[in-house]
Symmetry: C2
């Protein structure tokens, strides 16, 4: 989307420039975002909690730092939102679960405290799919998050609030979490960028676990560059390291490397528009000098991987929520409990087999990728659908990134019938994933402002 | 034990010297070991397969290398035995399971091929507890392995054949495997040294899995120095790295470090002789200049860890043997099937919780150990018992090493009523564990030759 208000249009890097030029202050930027939330979020349903006063206080502190030339980082004064399963001290921390509605986080999650230390301003808490276990953010307790591109359509999930708020300009960037695709699916459905980093690069301390073996914290932003800045901030890198992490690999460096494109048609049905836009992005990459070969992923079985992943998530979620589920089962929706019941009905050897399956799938995928610097694949097989439907095979392609633990950047590739299309760049390191996404989207212009 | 035959008494390092001095050839040494196996193993039950011809051929090749000054490594010409769950190409590979009695390994496990490449001579395959799931090596298919110190007593397990053959001089050293203590328990019961390396240092490729998350390959020998040489050979280190891995940390280096002694009396009942010998070893260490403090392991719960470990082993073993168990349940003893049934009766969340419990136990133990360079603890609470009894709490102390993945060396501390006593040295790296064990046993002399 494009935005009439240059403060909103600026994103993360742009705000930094505006602050440095003294064209805008963090106080003005924060007021712009708060005003936009007031005006538009009622219909969108991105935020489950907004802290206008806290944001204003932080904005004044940031403004004083910029004023005196003591800005801490590129994120100083940048208004962001945080997914509801990531602890922000003093804010609701319910992970989209009704039974935790009244829970207030005692302290910041490590990634939040690092962003705060970098000067970021926390606007509030973003809606998500209940317990992160689903991809529609049609939350029975906190409402639906609508897709800014089409009301009544899902913004994806589980980080639906993070994706939609980023897309609609209700924050400059956001934190999400991604266990089987929960950052990249909403990024794909809302035409934004979503980066799931290398496993462990951003700490999951203070994040309600869906699966402690597959969970990742990821970032949502409106450009690759902004994703890199959020990534560096959330993992607490500073000095030269921050610059390295925040800087996507340059096109010149990428030209030397062989890249792969997944033969996705052999994996599953993909919408013609999604396929066409992905191929066009590859052609843009080729025109820019990148090298691509079409490959399959050998013995990596996309369907088997997601089945194993879902069992692992169900079993680990049950352990995470064991006490709360026993004490107050009605605090979890019937649909959520039904999914979890599937996990509790399976045996210990079934789960052991699932871990082993994912282990051998990861090995197979790494082997198939060993000759390439990265892989392009669809983010989701289809664009966003109405809430009345369930998105088909929605995590089929994204699960790969969690299984191998490698970084993936979802990037917009075009539009179809008013809804965004997306592809994903997976690589061996974060800089390459970000750089590849950047190289393939640089000529893409998303049309139109969101006016509600 | 001491041995009248200097070739047997020489162990690994000693043989190397005898070969280098041309006092003995690998052919003579191999014949000595083969002759000793013929004479004594009928009563002991260490070997389930002996390859006299293959060993002789390899011995002649090694002799030619020594003759021409082209010996490959310190293990060149050293006769060793291999536990029955580790693949030796062309040899039975049944892991002590009757249903696999006829299975012949198609190729060497990686650790075996590395030992072979280092010039080691493989005498044969050693008995073990059925499927590695137990600590007595009272095998219903392949017979009992008796303790060389007392007939009718267990040599421990699951690597009972490896421990007993090493103790009785039926090999210079051996490979075993250790999932909850299976190298260290037989080392402790037979008065030998058993080293469980850092997790992953020796490859588990080609080893029948008991638990792929807890399995380690380890080494049995009659001195710390010999353990180091076997370790370097089995992990395929060469050049300077081999020297580093094979060399226990020197006493002078260890004097600078703070060590801990577990307050084991607070954990479980330990035999007075075991406790007394451990304290005497600590006093020997102090007299040599080492520093010890008595500690507890904070939130590491020895009993909870072993319960979680056993569930993980049962679930992963069931996956490993799924097909064979279904196709031929009678190929597994009733007792073994009963243990595995315990695993299959538990739920997926139970297993997820067990993994999480071990994860937090590992964290607690590492935290408690963070101020120390190593920890002394009992190997087992009691010495070996008759086959008619089950050893009590036999893996209670050893499980710690598998949970944290850190190296541990079991070393003899004395004798009680004709049976060996043992303690274990756990450290952050293999060289320190070996060095600590060496420093504390240097003055210990085990009495008597084994004459059957």
């Amino acid at each position: 989307m494009t935005f009439a208000n240059p403060i909103i249009a600026a994103g993360v890097r742009g705000l930094q420039s505006l602050y440095a030029e003294r064209a805008v202050t963090p106080v003005e930027a924060t007021e712009s975002y708060l005003s936009r939330i007031r005006g538009l979020d009622g219909a969108l349903g991105c935020y489950v909690h907004v802290d206008a006063e806290g944001a204003r206080t932080a904005a004044h502190e940031s403004a004083a730092r910029w004023q005196s030339g003591r800005a801490i980082s590129a994120l100083d004064g940048v208004p962001i939102g945080i997914k509801a399963n990531i602890a922000v001290g003093g804010f609701p921390w319910h992970a989209g679960i009704g039974g935790h509605r009244e829970r207030i986080a005692a302290a910041d999650a490590e990634c939040v405290s690092r962003l705060r230390a970098a000067g970021a301003i926390i606007l509030g808490v973003l809606n998500m799919h209940e317990g992160a276990f689903g991809a529609t953010t049609d939350n029975p307790w906190f409402g639906r998050t609508h897709n800014p591109w089409k009301h009544g359509h899902t913004a994806g999930g589980s980080s639906g609030g993070s994706g939609a708020a980023t897309a609609a300009g209700l924050c400059a960037a956001a934190l999400g979490s991604d266990t089987l695709g929960s950052v990249r699916i909403p990024a794909g459905f809302t035409g934004t960028f979503g980066h799931k980093p290398t496993q462990g690069l951003i700490s999951t301390e203070g994040v309600v676990a869906m699966s402690w073996t597959l969970d990742h914290v990821g970032v949502h932003a409106r450009s690759v560059e902004d994703c890199g800045l959020m990534l560096a901030g959330a993992c607490g890198a500073d000095g030269e390291l921050a610059g390295d992490i925040a800087t996507p690999m340059s096109l010149e460096m990428l030209k030397a490397a062989p890249f792969a494109v997944l033969d996705f048609a052999a994996v599953a049905e993909v919408s013609p528009a999604t396929a066409k836009a992905l191929h066009a992005a590859v052609e843009r990459g080729r025109a820019a000098g990148l090298n691509f070969e079409t490959i399959s992923l050998g013995d990596y079985d996309f369907a088997a991987a997601i089945q194993s992943g879902l069992l692992i998530c169900a079993a680990e979620t049950l352990v995470e929520h064991d006490e709360a589920l026993t004490a107050n089962p009605e605090g979890f929706s019937e649909a959520y409990r039904a999914i979890l019941k599937m996990g509790s009905s399976r045996s210990a050897p079934d789960l052991a087999r699932a871990y082993r399956t994912l282990g051998s799938m990861a090995e197979a995928a790494r082997e198939a990728l060993s000759g390439y610097a990265g892989l392009i694949l669809p983010t989701t097989p289809f664009p966003a659908c109405p809430f009345e439907e369930q998105p088909r095979d929605v995590a089929l392609f994204t699960t790969l990134g969690n299984v191998v633990g490698l970084p993936v950047t979802a990037f917009p590739t075009g539009m179809d019938e008013g809804l965004p299309l997306s592809a994903s760049a997976l690589a061996w390191d974060d800089e390459t994933a970000l750089g590849l996404a950047q190289a393939m989207t640089q000529s893409f212009e998303a049309p139109g402002d969101y006016r509600g």
